[in-house]
């Protein structure tokens, strides 16, 4: 089973070859290096997955990475189990299709070789992340995918907005990683190792321990769990660190599909599922996770309602869907979260690639208000995007229905905050259906609203782009069929839940069938309602949206401006840091206090010696006068002494 090593290292080799030889020698041939590498990874991944299905899991160290001090020892090693297997399928498949699509999409770009080099580096990093058998290697992959995200968002670096967005993504993620890193450190100090399995073995034994943080006694595992969760909040763009993901749309669209929809952003969810034995021990942390996820799902969906940039709508929808996955983890339904991660990878990557196809036809136009009626110009794009939208809206029998329903159902039956987050998720489902079909109607239906020039240019994308769309569409439609609820499909129909159960468990549900049918019926009804409302807003009564915006101007403005979160951060973090640095550190402590003292001492010495120097003027008269004065003084003193 040694061939598993090729899975991450083929793309790494492709990166090295392309970055060294791409610019001068390979040029467009660099596409073949990357595509062959990822194809190889994909094939070997599938082989590995079949090994896992046959019951062969693997946990092996490659070499010892860091040995330090007394007892710090961590390896580069690989854990391939059911959870990793699901991720391998998602990552290599989507990555391969996006590579192929990019051949068409990026054609003629002057950074062509660089684009493929970065894609390969990303694939390597993501694979290292999901295949790690310890937290430090996870962290390696975690930061490395962040780097690739930075490089690819800012791929068109001449654009200020693109380079700003890349930087923002990296730094916002660093805020999350700040907590994540401390969590990893605390795990090591608590358990003496960072390798998953030994940690999981010991976690129950520290369940009741407390730790003193700034004078307060807090549950140790809760602290660890919440710190680790900070990382997921950053990487999976949960509130309040969601701000980087919509801006990340500055990157080329294949990147949005691969990194900012299907794979990297789901790393946070993967991490929650991977480390589930830790989270399970802390009910407090679980509630925080569930509420964060549920809130984010709803919050992001409300913003998506009013955006006009086609990619931003999909970006907010990604934030929202990630919220569902996090919510699932928070109620202990990790399997459902991973299931949704898996179906979402297909339909969301498809949505992005369709958006890319639209942009390709519209010469880079992103504003949906300037589109319309594209259905007849680009039928493949239209139909695939329509199916993806049905999937994300949760209409049976498309993939999104099964995974979302699984999450909502398990949340409904969850303890504690379960019912509450179910409610959040259900409302978000209504909004999801609405904004998804708003996008479809604005883009593909009605009359074309762009310029004549644009209309002239409209065309379906080349085969190299549409074939990946069709292939992904198969996933968007059918990938959910491996997780049909037993209620509908009978025994063993929920294959995926059983498959990952050894790693992530499965919550016990004891509820009546009638309740289950009711919850399913409710979500389907709600999804249909959302689509119906969108239809009446954007097909039937086109003046309705404007009227609504006029009726609730404040709400509209707040939503349109994304609750002003960016502005708030700019004020309290960016400006504050620069202000302190400029006015206090440079302007006062360094220049006035420290330099004042440093320069003051020589000046004081200089001044003193200047004063003393005056005495030695070389003037004989003055010397004589001083001498007389001195003699008088001495006499006077003696006199005083004698008399006194």
């Amino acid at each position: 089973m040694k061939y598993y090593l090729l899975i991450p290292f083929l793309p790494l080799a492709a990166f090295v070859i392309n970055i060294l030889l791409g610019r001068k020698i390979l040029k467009t041939a660099s596409q073949w290096v990357s595509i062959l590498a990822v194809f190889g990874s994909m094939v070997i991944s599938y082989m590995t997955v079949f090994d896992v299905i046959r019951g062969h899991t693997l946990n092996a160290d490659l070499y010892t990475w860091i040995i330090a001090g007394t007892g710090f020892r961590v390896s580069v090693g690989f854990l391939i189990d059911q959870l990793t297997a699901v991720m391998l399928v998602v990552v290599t498949t989507v990555s391969f299709l996006v590579h192929v699509y990019s051949v068409g999409y990026m054609r003629g770009d002057k950074g062509y070789y660089r684009f493929f080099a970065y894609l390969s580096l990303f694939t390597f990093s993501m694979l290292m992340l999901i295949m790690a058998n310890n937290m430090l290697q996870l962290y390696f992959g975690w930061e490395a995918v962040g780097l690739c995200s930075y490089l690819l968002i800012g791929f068109w670096y001449e654009k200020k907005s693109a380079s700003d967005a890349g930087k923002k993504a990296f730094i916002v993620n660093r805020f999350g990683d700040f907590g994540f890193g401390l969590g990893v450190i605390l795990v090591f100090l608590t358990f003496g190792t960072l390798h998953y399995l030994p940690v999981f073995d010991k976690v129950a034994s520290v369940a009741g321990q407390t730790i003193s943080i700034f004078g307060m006694e807090v549950n140790l595992v809760t602290v660890i769990a919440l710190l680790l969760f900070c990382g997921a909040v950053g990487k999976s763009a949960q509130f309040p660190l969601h701000v980087w993901l919509p801006d990340a749309m500055e990157g080329p669209t294949p990147v949005s599909a691969l990194i900012h929809a299907a794979t990297m952003v789901t790393a946070g969810v993967f991490m929650l599922a991977r480390l589930n034995p830790i989270f399970n021990v802390s009910p407090v942390a679980m509630d925080v996770i569930a509420i964060t996820g549920g809130f984010t799902a709803l919050f992001a969906a409300t913003i998506a309602l009013v955006q006009n940039d086609i990619k931003r709508v999909i970006a907010y929808s990604t934030v929202s869907q990630l919220g569902y996955m996090v919510l699932a983890c928070g109620v202990g339904a990790y399997g459902a979260g991973i299931f949704h991660l898996y179906t979402h990878a297909f339909f969301k990557a498809l949505l992005f690639l369709c958006a890319g196809s639209v942009m390709h036809a519209m010469a880079g136009e992103l504003d949906m208000q300037k589109m319309g009626g594209l259905r007849k110009y680009m039928p493949v794009t239209y139909w695939t995007m329509l199916l993806a939208s049905l999937s994300i809206s949760g209409i049976p029998p498309f993939a999104g229905f099964f995974s979302k329903d699984e999450i909502l159902w398990l949340a409904f039956n969850g303890n504690g905050v379960g019912k509450f987050v179910w409610l959040l998720g259900t409302v978000a489902a209504l909004l999801t259906a609405f904004y998804s079909f708003r996008l479809i109607y604005l883009t593909f239906h009605g009359e074309f609203r762009g310029t004549e020039e644009q209309r002239h240019h409209l065309h379906e994308s080349p085969k190299v782009m549409t074939i990946p769309l069709v292939l992904l569409c198969i996933g968007a439609v059918a990938s959910g069929w491996i997780g049909i609820p037993e209620l509908i499909g009978g025994e063993h129909s929920n294959w995926i839940a059983n498959f990952v159960r050894p790693v992530v468990g499965h919550p016990e549900v004891n509820a009546a069938h009638s309740t289950a049918w009711m919850v399913i019926a409710l979500s389907v009804a709600i999804a249909l309602t959302g689509i119906f409302v969108a239809r009446s807003f954007y097909i039937k009564n086109k003046e309705l949206p404007g009227k609504f915006a006029g009726m609730f101007p404040f709400t509209y403005r707040v939503l349109f401006n994304k609750y002003y979160v960016d502005e708030l951060y700019d004020l309290i973090i960016v400006r504050a840091a620069k202000g302190i640095a400029r006015n206090i550190m440079v302007g006062f402590t360094d220049s006035k206090i420290i330099e004042g003292i440093v320069n003051g001492i020589p000046r004081l010495i200089g001044w003193t010696s200047a004063q003393i120097r005056k005495v030695q003027s070389g003037d004989a008269h003055r010397y004589a006068a001083m001498m007389v004065l001195g003699m008088f003084l001495i006499f006077a003193l003696m006199l005083v002494k004698l008399l006194g």
Partner: protein, 505 residues
């Protein structure tokens, strides 16, 4: 250890003698001087390599020892040796010196002969500092290094070079003088300059405290620790590229090395009592140095202030006084030498073309200089501690050690990681991304000499990042010996406790 020559003396004196030989060369023969200097530094590097290959990692004892009586009446010896703490600084010095010669190739046009002589003598003296096991000899090298360094800044530096050079000289001199007093006090107490013997003595608590602060003056200035850092931005900024590189890569490591070699083993009780102060100053340096980078407009100054922040990590690791922190601290000294050295080399490369250090004079450099942009990107990422590169291993171990020593310190130090990403990526954006500034359009990308200058450092970035054991492996025994010494003092602990109670009263 069967090496046919006294290796430490050789690495110290080959460059010095090489420098003296250059004196004899006609100053008009600039290329002979340059090639000669390059040859000397390469030879020095090659003869220093057995330090890496033949080092015995299983002992904390000093290796490659050389001891000869020098001034017997005062018990002064010519005594050299290295252990797992110092060996890498010797190697780093011999490597960096080659790169300094290479980077100065076209940059130094004036008084070429004197420049390379100064450079070579600096190299010898720096290595001497890291090898000396006799305090007298140590002090000699410590001060000897100042003079050529002062000249390098003051003669070949930027517009405000004199101010910077004098400031640098006075700052360090004041610190050194206090250390000299400390050395004399130690001698009066133990009647020896032998550093190993001095470290085995136990000194009364009060004396320890006084000496700790006397040595602190010398070392903290060099590091530099907050608030003694203000010489550094000026010196770095005004120095020629080679000067900045030597300052960043090696010279400021001497302060941290001094703490490890002298303050901690000789004054363990005072060290332990002063941990909160040292950790506090380190954390302030990390955050203060980082935030101040956000508003710098001069590239060199920005990197200089980032050194303050990074050296804060180093002192934090050292004074965490646990094995993770100290090993991380030593590794981070090497890392900082490599990465910040490389960044200064990078800035030198572009400065040679534009003669501007102002960030606003750049923009869009990635378009005309893609190779250069690639190198700079790698070093930027290494600075901000991306895993897989060297900075991560050091920073992670330091934060781990810091967190183990004091939670609040670990948490505050970790904010430095966020801040460094902020200022470095912003710098990178303004210099390399966005529209091409017309001032830099059409500049030539790096030539072979420049690539060759950066390549060794690039390789080290990944080597340490992927397989740090090649380096950490040297340290384990020496560091655990050091920590044992500190933590063994049972009775001394009692003294500390009593002294503290006394002080409180």
């Amino acid at each position: 250890m069967e090496i046919g020559y006294p290796i430490l003396s050789a690495v110290i004196f080959v460059p010095v003698i090489g420098g003296l030989v250059l004196l004899l060369v006609n100053r008009a023969n600039e290329s002979i001087i340059k090639w000669g200097a390059l040859l000397v530094t390469i030879v020095t590097f090659v003869i220093s390599l057995p330090l890496f290959t033949d080092f015995d990692k299983t002992t904390y004892l000093m290796q490659f020892q050389e001891k000869h009586a020098w001034i017997p009446s005062w018990n002064i010896n010519y005594f050299l040796g290295v252990d797992g703490i110092s060996v890498f600084f010797v190697l780093l010095s011999t490597l960096i010196s080659i790169l300094c010669v290479l980077i100065s190739w076209n940059a130094i046009k004036d008084k070429v002969k004197e420049f390379y002589i100064a450079l070579l003598i600096t190299e010898g003296a720096m290595i001497g500092v890291f090898c000396s096991l006799d305090f007298f000899l140590f002090y000699l090298f410590w001060e000897a290094m100042l003079i050529p360094m002062y000249l390098i800044i003051g003669v070949w530096g930027g517009p405000r070079r004199l101010y910077a050079a004098i400031k640098f000289f006075l700052y360090t001199l004041v610190g050194s003088v206090l250390m000299l007093v400390g050395i004399i006090v130690l001698y009066n107490h133990a009647h020896t300059f032998n550093i190993l013997e001095l470290a085995n003595h136990t000194y009364p608590y009060k004396l320890q405290m006084i000496l700790f602060w006397a040595f602190f003056a010398a070392f903290a200035v060099k590091v530099p620790m907050f608030p003694l850092h203000t010489w550094l931005p000026d010196a770095h900024t005004e120095a020629p590229t080679a000067g900045s590189v030597i300052l960043a890569a090696i010279l400021i490591k001497m302060g941290a090395y001094g703490f490890l070699r002298f303050s901690i083993p000789m004054f363990p009780d005072a060290t332990k009592a002063m941990i909160p102060v040292m950790l506090g100053l380190s954390v302030v340096a990390i955050i203060y140095g980082g935030l101040i980078c956000l508003v710098q407009t001069d590239m060199k100054r920005l990197i200089a202030y980032s050194s303050v922040s990074h050296m804060g990590f180093v002192t934090l690791g050292i004074f965490a006084l646990n094995s993770y922190g100290v090993e991380g601290g030593i590794l981070q000294m090497i890392n900082h030498g490599i990465v910040t050295g490389a960044l200064f080399l990078c800035i030198g490369i572009i400065y040679d073309r534009t003669h501007s250090r102002e960030i606003s004079d750049y923009g869009g450099l990635a378009t005309p200089l893609p190779v250069y942009a690639g190198f700079f990107m790698v070093f930027t990422l290494a600075t901000i501690g991306l895993p897989g590169m060297n900075g991560f291993v050091g920073e992670f171990l330091i934060i781990l050690g810091g967190f183990a020593a004091s939670r609040i310190v670990g948490v505050l130090a970790a904010t430095g990681v966020v801040i460094s990403a902020g200022y470095m990526l912003w710098l990178y954006q303004r210099v390399f991304f966005m529209n091409v500034n017309e001032k830099v359009a059409g500049l030539k990308d790096m030539d072979a000499r420049e690539v060759l200058t950066l390549l060794p450092l690039l390789a080290l970035v990944f080597w340490i990042g992927v397989y740090p054991d090649s380096f950490l492996g040297f340290m384990h025994v020496s560091v655990s010996h050091l920590l044992e010494k500190i933590n063994s003092g049972g009775p001394a602990d009692m003294n500390v406790a009593q002294a503290i109670i006394h002080m409180v009263k």
